[in-house]
Amino acid sequence: MKAIGVILAGGNNHRLESLTTISGRAVAAMPIGSGYRAIDFPLSSMSNSDINKIAVIVQFNSSSLYDHLSSSKWWNLGRKRGGLFIFSPYSSNYENPIYRGTANAMYQNLKFFQRSNHEYVIISSGDAIYKMDFNDLIKYHKNKENDITIVYKKTEDGEDIRKFGVISIDEDENITDIEEKPLKTDSRNISLGIYIIERKLLIELLETANKENRHDFVNDIIIRYRKVLKLGGFKFDGYWSTLNSVNAYYKTNMDFLKKDIRYFFTKEYPYISTKTRDEPPVKYNRDAIVKNSIVSGGSIIDGTVENSVIFSNVYVGQNVTVKNSILMSGSYISNDNILENVILDKNVKTKESLILKGEENNPVIVGKDHIFY
């Protein structure tokens, strides 16, 4: 119990288009891999690493997260010592109830940090899909005597990394430079938005930043102090994916059809935990054909499903073909439909004989609760 955790889940993200904007959903609450939400991954990683005091900072569309996090017991956090804290902006006499940035969000909840006696704080974004043992990170950070250690990943040559924070690193894994969303860079190392920092140092930096009216953790603390503090990198080789576009969201879900990735998250201990709903088993009726797909509890399949990710309580009607698609919880696919390359948000109901086809890198998105008449 050396560290407390912070999960930044408040970002306003239009990059997932109607999946977040129309559906009123935070990116961290996006459904993933047929049974999970994005935040389950950082949250489970922390809880599985014996981090038992965790703050989740929410802001935009926070109700989707409140619902998912309504009980902390699924992540073993319903404890007398520690627990799960959810911080959203609140009104006071002096300020608008808004977080002006990630650093400001933490600053407004400074007491969470002050009232802990843990040595370190681990900060993670809430919308990245990964599994990590933070004990390794803590040990590494301590041995290297870094002020801040940033978890990074080396990307493949040719991958477009202009959307990421890019770090340059020397042979000794010290960070020599860091840039946010550079237009041009020689480095292949991207920051994963996962950091470890000494708790007292974080408090000090947050207080200073606030005095200077600076509010962003990456720009106003990490980048601004890059020459002053000792920044180190911690290379992460495991699966990591962030939901920064519709295609990234689509691809991340489809990754769960790959055996090694699915096994890594669902069969290799420690598991990713999520809110338990106790759905009944999946029912495959007489004419069902389900190939290369994952299906979650409570669903009933009458038709054909191929290369798809089916969440819970979905009904796939008779003589239906669903291909290369994501159907979120509660989807109801009426008879004689053909759906290809579509993402149906929750509780979409189709009409009979509907044909809906997207393209390989441009899936059709149908918003939450939409009913086809």
Binding site: G33, G35, S273, D278, V282, K283, N285, R286, V295
Partner: protein, 424 residues
């Protein structure tokens, strides 16, 4: 802390007609419907009926049951006031005894009940599969101002011989009660679900304690109350209710769930059955797999073919394997090209490449023909069948078996192969 209703759930029975399935666990802990245990239905009925104080009485092979119930998290029964308490037989001063009868078991835990000072006591068992709103039965009990209310179903004449049978008037007031009659006078049968006004029952329990050592509700308490002129009523329950007490009835009740429109609907929105879900991961079906007329629970990896079967969580079925009319429980691994027909595989069974289960003609089991006669072969928990073995019908296999345990790699129909573990 006063509670209007306390439920006592009798979960101590063995269910001996389930054979190998209940050799190492009590009947309420047997898997049903893929991901559930039989006790989940009664437990969920309680919480769905608004009853949050439940004493679960265990006796026979309680380990699995105790672990399953834990502190009641799956049913939201981890509560400060009330919640679930697992109650076991125990020593008292210089005495102490096992439960000798259903009423005796309740008598032994009178202090648990008294601590909540309830108006009504609901007695249920963990042996049955059904969805029932007990609060409606309690309302009925109150409206009749009854001493005791006995839930009852309609059964056939033959079935009635195995039940407590009830004769009642048009108002459902009980006139006579006969436990397991040789010649039934009624086909109205007790489900073993009772509501008692607690003070009345308390008096009866104390009184009967001195008369019958094996104090039982059906044999003693209910008939005695009738004799004394108490107000006893029957509560007619006309929905799905299954005892699943034999291999055959257990098998058939499971199989019905895989029908397109089963009588027992697990997919209703407002009467969830809760259970201890270890892992919430989805089920994967590969390019080569076929699953039809089946229910499959979470965390399975299916590369083979599954027809008319019930698959529990975290089962792996490899390529080329074909499963028909079978129940495959938690964490079983079915290797390549295995063929399984009409079999029940308890949890953790491993079947090696190319093995065949359910072959040959239908001959009843030689050792226990009254248990294994319907053609179903049972593989006990954590048993291992090596590759290439052929096993017949009505067989029982238990433990880690090796090729040399079989004659020419075969186990003929009706044979048993029980390998006892070195330790208990």
């Amino acid at each position: 802390m006063k509670k209007e209703v306390v439920a006592m759930l009798l979960a101590g029975g063995q269910g001996s007609r389930l054979g190998e399935l209940t050799r190492k666990k009590a009947k309420p802990a047997v898997t049903f419907g893929g991901k559930y245990k039989i006790i989940d239905f009664s437990m969920s009925n309680c919480v769905n009926s608004g009853i949050d104080t439940i004493g679960v009485l265990t006796q026979y092979q309680p380990l699995l049951l105790n672990k399953h119930i834990g502190i009641g998290i799956p049913w939201d029964l981890d509560k400060k006031n009330g919640g679930v308490s697992v109650l076991t037989p125990h020593l008292k001063g210089d005495s102490g005894e096992w439960y000798t009868g259903t009423a005796n078991a309740i008598f032994q835990h009178m202090s648990y009940i008294e601590s909540y000072n309830p108006e009504y006591l609901l007695i249920i068992s963990g042996d049955h599969v059904y969805k029932m709103d007990y609060s409606l039965m309690i309302d009925f009990h109150k409206s009749k101002n009854a001493c005791a209310t006995v839930a009852a179903i309609k059964v056939t004449y033959e079935e009635a011989k195995g039940f407590g049978t009830i004769i009642c008037d048009d108002d459902y007031k009980i006139k006579a009660f006969e436990e397991k009659p040789k010649i039934p006078k009624s086909t109205f049968a007790s489900m073993g679900v009772y509501v008692f006004s607690w003070q009345k029952l308390k008096t009866a329990l104390i009184k009967d304690r001195d008369i019958h050592n094996d104090s039982d509700f059906g044999k003693h308490i209910i008939p005695n109350m009738l004799e004394e002129g108490c107000n006893l009523y029957a509560y007619y329950f006309d929905r799905y209710w299954k005892d699943v007490g034999t291999i055959e009835s257990y098998f058939n009740a499971n199989m019905e769930l895989a029908q397109t429109l089963p009588e027992f609907n697990l997919y209703e929105n407002f009467w969830n059955i809760y259970t201890d879900s270890e892992n919430q991961s989805p089920t994967y079906t590969s390019e080569d797999s076929i699953i039809q007329g089946s229910i499959v629970s979470e965390g399975c990896e299916i590369y083979g073919e599954v027809y008319n079967s019930i698959i529990s969580p975290d089962v792996i079925i490899e390529k080329g394997a074909v499963i028909r009319n079978s129940i495959i429980m938690q964490k079983c691994v079915i290797k390549k090209d295995v063929i399984i027909e009409n079999a029940i595989l308890d949890f953790g069974v491993m079947v090696g490449d190319g093995a065949k289960i359910g072959a040959f003609e239908n001959i009843p089991n030689k050792q226990k023909p009254s248990v294994y006669y319907s053609g179903i072969t049972v593989l006990g928990e954590d048993s291992v069948v090596p590759k290439g073995i052929v096993i017949g019908k009505n067989c029982v296999v238990s433990g880690t078996t090796f090729f040399e345990d079989y004659e020419n790699g075969e186990l003929q129909s009706g044979e048993s192969l029980i390998k006892e573990e070195a330790t208990i």
